[in-house]
């Protein structure tokens, strides 16, 4: 049990330290505009990589067809500037219906 507490605390402290880097540095050191530009571009790059790996992979392998099909349905609606709620629901419902139909 003590090992579990240690795991939780180590994860919590480490994660909070990562999260705090940006907010603590802000206003203390003058960040060059070029670095700021790269930081916001980097956030978009990370998010796109997250959505790509999240849509297509699961534990290092292919996630199956149902999930990427749902994400694609949501993405198509987002491209047509559909409301946020429609995008999210369409993705989940598409995947759920495909799974119900036996597509993994």
């Amino acid at each position: 049990m003590n090992a579990t507490v240690a795991v939780i605390l180590a994860l919590a402290v480490g994660t909070y330290a990562f999260r705090l880097v940006g907010p603590v540095l802000h206003g203390r050191v003058t960040v060059p505009p070029r670095v700021q530009e790269l930081a916001s571009a980097g956030a978009v790059v990370l998010l796109v990589a997250l959505l790509a790996t999240g849509a297509l992979t699961e534990s290092g392998g292919f996630a199956g067809w149902a999930r990427p099909a749902g994400v694609l349905a949501g993405a198509a609606l987002a491209w047509r500037r559909a409301p946020f709620a429609v995008v999210v629901l369409a993705a989940a419902v598409t995947t759920a219906v495909l799974r119900l139909a036996g597509v993994s």
Partner: protein, 234 residues
């Protein structure tokens, strides 16, 4: 005058709450499944509950508990979780401006930095709305996530297999909707993001979880200064 401003402000807040609430709902159900999976695997109720409060990072929590339950040992559990969370440092840098310089705002706000909340904040057109979006999404998500985990830990596996609800497709779709405006507006960011995603997908089968997304940052090599772009590309 003041009442007019307040009406406009609250209407804007309502639309932020409306857009956030679906992410909250989906996260709440994922939280329920995290609580249920942890307890079903043999961990006491307080483990997922405490972890969600103090770590507050879905993917890292799932992977840490997964490693623990698979008998991978505490060191491997911490290493996996921290590796997944290194990206929050980049996200913290991206929202530092939004959090401002107030002590409470920075120290509380840092804990609320998650993929969804950062994406939601950065998707807003102006700094004031970005700040409102960060706090509305962040505080709501924290509350719903932790309530969900507690409910799941107490209820056990009553919800069944949550893959049934297609929520695993909802999260990538949320991110698509949130980053699309930035991708449309800026061709340089688009190039970087495409290269990064391709790199991440290519290495996913070969490297530990968390590494692919970090490698995606190599896509930033395509991010050249506007003036230098034509010459540098040649």
């Amino acid at each position: 005058m003041r009442s007019v401003q307040r009406t406009i402000g609250s209407a804007a807040d309502r639309s932020l709450v409306r857009d956030s609430s679906l992410v909250w709902l989906a996260s709440g159900v994922v939280g329920v499944s995290f609580g249920a999976v942890s307890v079903a695997g043999g961990l006491p109720v307080w483990v997922p509950v405490l972890m969600s409060l103090v770590v507050y990072a879905g993917s890292a929590q799932f992977s840490a508990v997964g490693v623990l339950l698979a008998g991978g040992g505490p060191l491997a559990a911490v290493a996996t979780g921290l590796l997944l969370n290194t990206r929050t440092a980049a996200f913290g840098l991206a929202v530092a401006e939004t959090l401002g310089t107030g002590r409470a705002s920075r120290f509380l706000g840092a804990h609320l930095v998650t993929d969804e909340t950062v994406a939601f904040a950065l998707a807003q057109p102006d700094p004031v709305r970005r700040r409102r979006a960060f706090w509305i999404s962040g505080l709501g998500l924290f509350a719903v996530w932790n309530a969900g985990v507690l409910a799941g830990a107490l209820a056990g596996s009553a919800l069944g297999d949550t893959a049934r609800y297609g929520l695993d497709a909802a999260f990538p779709a949320v991110l698509v909707a949130l980053v699309l405006p930035a991708l449309r507006a800026d061709a340089r960011v688009r190039r970087c993001a495409l290269l990064g995603a391709a790199l991440a997908l290519a290495v996913t089968p070969a490297v530990p979880a968390g590494v692919p997304v970090l490698l995606a940052l190599a896509g930033l090599f395509l991010h050249r200064r506007p003036a230098a772009a034509p010459g540098a590309a040649a």
